[in-house]
Amino acid sequence: MIRIVDLHKSFGGNKVLRGVNLQLRRGETLAVIGQSGCGKSVLLKHIIGLLKPDKGKVYVDGEDITLLNDEELHKITRRFGMLFQGTALFDSMTVGQNVSFGLERYTDHSKEKIHELVRENLAKVGLRGVEHLMPFELSGGMRKRVGLARAIAYSPDIILYDEPSTGIDPIRADAINDLIIRMGKEMKVSELIITHDMVSAYKVADKIAMLYEGKIIEIGTPEEIKNSKNPIVQQFIHGKAEGPIENW
């Protein structure tokens, strides 16, 4: 479904991605793990077309999206839903307007149908009667859930999550993990999750890939990752300060 081939990206002199190869199959949930600042979010932004690579290809169902202009790209992004790290809710709009934003642009539904879908999608993430609230009136966990409702509202078939459990307490993070699992099962979507939270990665992912120094150094099922012989993977998954990964 999504195939990334030899992806390179630099910012100034800083080489962030140095030849990433990765594949997400239909209906699969893939977690990409790695240190903070290792380029996980940069990788995600290439998949949705927000960044253009210096070198390499990103294929979505066989089509190379790196060659598309913005208008052609919007036909592809219609298939993606994205939960941003800081939720990126539009702070000048109500919760209802945030959730209906993609619906108004990507579908031909009537206003009544859009209102109904907004209520329905907010209910899916466990929120009711919040349509009229502004984002600043919500807690961190609620904001994440509204962000998720916005991402799934127009029924995309690929959902991208950028650090879904960051910035919220462990109980709410677990509730978000349950939501991600439910989305995958109920909506039969493919999911790509960027995280450095191993609890979350083990719980939700079918496969885990580790990004280190701009490359995917290991990929496998959660069990295979746990039993990896690679000392870098072992240091990261156990969260140890001592080891081959530099701390600072």
Binding site: I48, H74, F80, M82, F84, G86, A88, S92, F101, R105
Partner: protein, 262 residues
Amino acid sequence: MFRKVKSPLFYINIFFEEMGEVGLLIFRTFKNLFKKPWEKGIFIQQLEEVGVRSLPVVLLTAAFGGLVFALQTYVGFHRYIGPGSETYGGPIISLGLSKELIPILVGLMVAGRVGSAMAAEIGTMKITEQIDALFSLGADPIRYLVVPRTLACFIMLPCLTVFGDIVGIAAGFFYNVVLMGVNRVLYVRNILLYMELWDVFSGLIKAAVFGIIIALIGCWQGLKTEGGAEGVGRATTRTVVIASVLILIVNFLLSKALPANL
């Protein structure tokens, strides 16, 4: 403690890079001007933000601009030409206000009030990934953010200038006729005799150009914001400084280029 002084080549490079960014933004804005869907809601909201909400500040600056202009022309005529000649102050005040002072005052006020707000709003959206979210939800950031703001400024700046012209000329009339006792009939007759409609129109053309400058600079600075709250602060300051300087430069160039009368 001391910053290393960079070579002139570095600054020349930055200058051309930024000119390229602005050029690209202008091109993309005009390209998106005619593409659907039109963001009517945002456009109407911006008309209110740029126009209606700027009325109080334009009222005050135009009134006091008119008063001080009237004061100095009265002194000038009274002292150097003689009592009775003050009635010729009317056309000079009206011409100076409508052709130069009001478009500039309106431009500077709107640059300070609206341009900085645009940079702050778009800059905050940039650093909180809201611009990326717009793109991922099918909205072109240029069509959604820049086009409605540019159109609103292009339309509302001339409207504010007409309002400022009326207030400024009325303030000049108030000072000369009501406070200083200049002959009312002659004062008004001289305005009507020497003032042309083109004088007002040339001021409106300038105001429309200033509107485009303010919106594009505010949006450009907002879209290139980096580095959190400090970056947003820098973007707003740069917007006001760049837009204000450009308004003064472009005003001179337009005054030179536009014919004195038609």
